[in-house]
């Protein structure tokens, strides 16, 4: 019951964030379209926002109802299908509104400026904190190696929604160090992604710094979490990361990360903050940026907050492929 309530709360919070999406973008942007000042308060602007919110609200309510009423295997289906359905419906509504608002689009001054000085690029001090998880996980491996004999022959590695172990591993190199290898890959990827977001974004981009903070913090949280999981074989066999406390941690943690991201980015997006003059014709559906003539790897999003990849840059695809490979290998490992 508690798990169900926690999942419903999480789902409701995510739906609320999506509901508030039009308020999170730059004042001159609405559903990925650059609109005139004050457009949001016009009848057409209000109608578009209302249409989007109605769809998100209906979809969210349907998901919540499914989570509340379904049971057994259907409940598990609702856990996966709910967020996926909401995402699909939201994207479809967004693209439709993007097309509808195109006729109100106004051009952004395409003028760009460059300081003709070769000042070296200084990485902010906090970016170095990204090395912490990179060293923490090998330290966990050393600790496990030193306490090898204290690890039980068989220990839990997976828990059900009620916190009861339902997956076990044996004391082997693969069973003990597997999560660390996966965690190492993931934190390294996140660190590389954070650095790429710094060096691959224009210096004039106001959210460049907040994004770096956010990515480094996320990397550190994931690193610590995976380090803790890797040490679980040394804990008593009945102990696990699930249970209500753990679920509550996720329920509160995930929206907190979302809200922190929204706050950091919003802070850098005052009404006088200039828009990045990326060409309108390079935005597909107001969401995807494809511009082979732009050297930037990341540009400011137009659909929400944060940065998005320039899909014409091959390094973006390399990073995406590396992440997918990492996730796929993680799944294969845990399935095996």
């Amino acid at each position: 019951m508690m798990v169900r309530a926690a999942l419903m709360l999480l789902y409701a919070l995510i739906s609320l964030i999506v509901f508030l999406l039009p308020n999170m973008t730059h004042p001159k942007l609405l559903f990925g379209v650059v609109v005139p000042d004050g457009f949001r308060t016009t009848d057409e602007g209000k109608r578009a926002i209302k249409a989007f919110r109605t769809i998100v609200a209906l979809s969210g309510a349907a998901g919540l109802l499914a989570l509340a009423l379904l049971s057994g295997s259907w409940f598990m289906v609702a856990i996966v299908a709910g967020p996926l359905g909401t995402a699909a419906v939201t994207i479809a509504a967004f693209v439709r509104l993007n097309r509808r608002l195109q006729r109100f689009a106004v051009p952004v001054s395409p003028v760009r400026q460059l300081e003709l000085a070769a000042e070296p690029e200084h990485l902010p001090w906090f970016a170095w904190l990204g090395w912490i998880p990179v060293f923490l996980l090998p330290a966990c491996a050393v600790y496990l190696h030193m306490h090898w004999n204290s690890i039980p022959e068989r220990f839990p590695v997976h828990w059900d929604l009620n916190g009861q172990p339902n997956g076990w591993a044996v004391r082997s190199v693969r069973g003990v160090y597997g999560p660390l290898v996966f965690g190492g890959g993931l934190t390294l990827w996140l660190f590389a992604f954070a650095l790429a977001s710094w060096y691959g974004t224009r210096r004039s981009e106001p959210i460049r710094r907040p994004m770096l903070v956010l990515l480094i913090v996320t990397e550190c949280i994931i690193g610590v979490l995976l380090g803790r999981i890797s040490l679980l074989p040394l804990a008593a066999p009945h102990q696990g990361p699930a249970g209500f406390a753990s679920v509550l941690g996720w329920v509160l943690g995930v929206p907190l990360v979302f809200l922190a991201a929204a706050y950091l980015v919003k802070r850098s997006r005052g009404p006088n903050t200039p828009l990045d003059p990326t060409p309108a014709e390079c935005w597909k559906g107001g969401m995807f940026y494809y511009n082979p003539n732009d050297a930037a790897l990341f540009v400011s999003r137009r659909d929400s907050v944060g940065l998005t990849l320039n899909l014409a840059n091959r390094w973006g695809w390399v990073m995406t492929a590396a992440l997918l490979l990492l996730i796929a290998s993680g799944f294969l490992f845990f399935l095996a």
């Binding site: 003028v111 760009r112 003709l116």
Partner: protein, 128 residues
Amino acid sequence: MPRLRIDPSAPTPVTRQITDGIRVQLVEGTLRPGTELPPVRRAAMELGVHFNTVAEAYRQLAREGWLDLRHGRLATVIERATPPAASKEDIADYRRRLRELISQMRAGGIPAAKIALELRSILKGLQI
């Protein structure tokens, strides 16, 4: 800090805008010998153009004798040797371009006296 400004929507190709913009600062003396220009990668990113666009502009300025481009080093402004006297064809070409520009200004409603004043002011700024 000298700045370069480009307008990708202008009819003039971006490579030429970059070349012309930097050349103005070189001729005016804002960029002095020894000054290092931003790396091609960063310049291209800040200007929202392809790397090759900036690289070609730098190469053009190097061909004109303004820049030293060595592999692994930043493009550096160098003391330029006195260029050879312009040929008659070159002068005719400059004259044609000036006429086009002045005609454009006149068509835009700028009085001839104001254009003459601007030209004198620009020449003075170029320290010629």
